[in-house]
Amino acid sequence: MTTIATNPIEKRTENRSSATIRFAGDSGDGMQLAGSQFTNTSALFGNDVSTLPEFPAEIRAPAGTLAGVSGFQINFSSEDIFTPGDRVDALIAMNPAALKTNLRDLVEGGILIVNSDEFNIANLAKAKYPTNPLETDELSRYQVYAVPIATHTVEAVKDLGLSAKEAERCKNIYSLGLVYWLYDRPLEATINWIKSKFAKNDQIAQANIRALQAGFHFGETAEIFPVRFRIERAKLPTGKYRNITGNQATAMGLITASRLCGKPIVYASYPITPASDILHQLSHYKHFDVKTIQAEDEIAAVCMAIGASFTGAIGVTASAGPGIALKQEAVGLGVMTELPLIIIDVQRAGPSTGMPTKPEQTDLWQAMLGRNGECPVAVVAAASPSDCFQTAIDAVRIAVQYMTPVFVLSDGFTGNSAEPWRIPKAADFAPFPVIHPADPTVFQPYARDERGVRPWAIPGTPGLEHRIGGIEKADITGNISYDPENHQHMVNLRAAKIDNIAREIPPQDVYGDASGDVLLVSWGGTFGAVRTACDTARKRGQRVSHMHMRWLNPFPSNVGDVLKRFKHVVICELNMGQLQLLIRGRFLINAHGLHKVQGRPFMVSEVLAKVDEVSRG
């Protein structure tokens, strides 16, 4: 660690409990990389971290334009945190467009580091700045540090024989080095990463290391930064940790579930933002008995998964909103044929193509209701990146134990952002072995056990040859039936089976007090913002509790009782009231809603404002 004493000028170090920073630049500037390195370093240092990567749907929008801005926000703390932070304390803007699109999230008095090299007439025009904001007083409310980052970077690597372009490409690492200094972070983790990343190109590796150190030393020696900050280690539960994104956790959860039930996975999907990463992850894990198929389209993907499930594998498919819409007919087939099937929906802003890289929770109705006929499925949602792991395991367990399609709802924010994950031990998970029937003398394809579940007889089993399909079937035998009473009976049986899942899932817990003025209700990726808001409100003395719902179909059996114990119920969702309608319809209560569809997660302040609003009555 550097100490103040060795600095050429007197610099103060202030302690803070947490900080939120954002790297913003052009899509080609390497901001995601700088952000993830800062995340790793902070996590390795011992902070709790939460991240929000934000990038445009265009792969490389024209350089310097507002459409091409990519950002990465990190909240790192000495305390337990659940969100990437509402506003940023420090913004690193690599060009005028990045400044323009990100400035509104910088707190007043916040640190603004800009790459002054890019503030030329052409780039200012692309960002629609009539005048250079560095030369006017429009940034006077912030601590502005205009640093010629590109010039410094090129200077730092000049004797390494790189082309001008190669040299300038290290500027993200230079800015990372500068921010490392600002927040008193060690360089080792990133230096090690650079060495392994560019193991085959020592010249580039050296250049990046030099750029990193140059940025750090600039912070230390330049006279412009009067103060740096220190965020101490967080007191996390003991254990071994790593960073994990939601999509990584989903992939690992599926693999773990496969081991626990002893069935291989066939994962078929069609590339779509923001779900593709699950396919990328799983395609590396063939030695875990995972077969991955990149299907020709969304419909083929879900159908391949169903075919695999019929054959005794765990059929899994994943997509986002528009792709899920295409799959729904086949999900109905999964309901009718009562096969285990996992459908992962990494939700994004809709309708139609919407905003592919931006998160929303607007597919709850689609998951619950988006099929023809009376067609109930189980629905479970992941609360955070690391929670995707357990959610995937729970989904597979219910799917194989109840012979049903299970929707797993994640979202672009949960899927792509990272947080520390306390690494579990494989042995800590209870197996749930699957037993396929083998005795032809007692086999009936649509006979049911006491939970209402039919047997999973698979091809290759002598004597159990049978036919299934999407046509209504007679109870017990599974033969085609158009009998009116039988259809009513079968609809009832399929509904009862899903309801019975409530026996398997834990009762709904409530954070805070069991009764009070306001019950904040959340589901999925809004957990963090709502939990943080609840904590804050409670510290202020408000009688607020939090009910985070993991299972959305069926609801845990005590949800109705919980709701009744609060004066006000506020359902917070990144949609226009989808769970709110379901809760109102089911429990006949006047639940309030906090709604947002801007392609961004809730800010804690927004939830708190709603608490105040309903408390005032």
Binding site: N40, A43, L44, G46, A189, P237, T238, G239, K240, Y241, R242, N243, M252, I255, T256, R259, P264, V266, A268, Y285, K286, H287, F288, D289, K291, I293, E296, D297, I299, A300, A301, C303, M304, A305, I306, G307, A308, F310, T311, G312, A313, A330, L333, T337, R422, I423, P424, A426, P459, G460, T461, P462, G463, L464, E465, H466, R467, I468, G469, G470
Partner: protein
């Protein structure tokens, strides 16, 4: 699995379900021939799966005493792909129709064929939508007057064999529902093929498109309208086998054997590396040319399931059986004490 008990009979392959096609439907014959051929081959019922989509033909699995899956419209090739990938030991058959396979499900059919995954795909072509009561199909002739096209359809038809060949089919055959001998032969060859086997079966819908294939089934004239393909043999046809097919440039033409040297006739080569000859045969259309029956193309190529299993085995060999604890701890980790 099946022990050395009595040999399999077609009756063993009949399910207990009552067949519900219209009396006189061509599907009855196809079902009977399929049961006969599979019994002759001595298939293992437990390891056989029939998958279908939607349409009259797609009821087929219900009548086979094997595993069966009657799925959704057009998606049988994808469901069957999932079945085969999950368990490559299974013999997987797909039964589809001209609407199911070439209209709503053309995409799935295309991709199954180009992957060369070992599915036996039987496309019953009756050139009409039967189950929805008689609209024109993608194989109906242009100008067809139907419930939905009172002035005649304006869509040009698709040729199923050309489609299959165009997307790289390694096995392409054609047969007629009532031409029992050649149907059995093609089914037998398809059953033995490794890779995707695509078979078009001319099938009479006696309710909505009766006699659509009369040219190929009428006792008195059919010999003049179809040519049975035999590997390595010249294309000779006609009631008295006096006509042949000769290639004039890239165009096949009918010639009288009397005035043509035997060497001039087109010799069938189902195993040609290039699909050009098969494509040319597929394009021969009644009434100007006899329509080919039998096996147009049969070549060996690596199958999808083989490559998939190979990658699985390579991964296991290189990385060993997956270790969850190692998986969890990948990348940078740190201890909190």
């Amino acid at each position: 699995m099946t022990t050395a008990s009595a040999p399999l009979t077609p009756k063993d392959l009949k399910s207990d379900q009552e067949v519900r096609w219209c009396p006189g439907c061509g599907d009855y014959s196809i079902l009977a021939q399929t049961q006969k051929v599979l019994a002759d081959i001595g298939i293992d019922r437990a390891n056989t799966v029939f998958v279908s989509g939607i349409g009259c033909s797609s009821r087929f699995p219900y009548y086979m005493n094997t595993y069966g899956f009657h799925s959704i419209h057009g998606r049988a090739p994808a469901i069957a792909t999932g079945v085969k990938c999950a368990n490559p030991q299974l013999d997987v058959w797909v039964v589809t129709g001209d609407g199911d396979g070439l209209s709503i499900g053309a995409g799935q059919l295309l991709h199954a064929i180009r992957r060369n995954i070992s599915l036996k795909i039987l496309l019953f072509n009756n050139r009409i939508y039967g189950l929805t009561k008689g609209q024109y199909s993608p194989t109906s002739e242009q100008g067809k007057r139907t419930a939905s096209t009172p002035l005649g359809s304006i869509d040009p038809p698709v040729n199923p064999l050309s489609f299959a060949l165009g997307v790289g089919a390694t096995f392409v055959g054609r047969a007629i529902d009532v031409d029992i001998k050649s149907l059995q032969l093609v089914l037998k060859r398809a059953a033995a093929h490794r890779g995707t086997a695509f078979v078009e079966i001319y099938q009479d819908c006696n309710v909505y498109n009766h006699k659509a294939f009369e040219f190929a089934t009428d006792r008195n004239t059919k010999e003049d309208h179809i040519v049975y393909l035999e590997h390595g043999k010249p294309l000779i046809f006609g009631k008295d086998r006096k006509k042949g097919v000769r290639l004039n440039g890239f165009t096949p033409e009918v010639v009288d054997l009397a005035g043509t040297p035997a060497d001039d006739l087109l010799i069938h080569d189902e195993s040609a590396h290039s699909p050009a000859l098969a494509f040319l045969l597929a394009q021969m259309k009644f009434p100007s040319m006899p329509e080919p029956m039998g096996v147009l193309r049969c070549v060996e190529s690596t199958t999808y399931e083989h490559m998939l299993e190979d990658q699985m085995a390579t991964a296991r060999r290189q990385s060993g059986a997956g270790d969850l604890d190692k998986l969890f701890s990948q990348g940078d980790t740190w201890e909190v004490e």
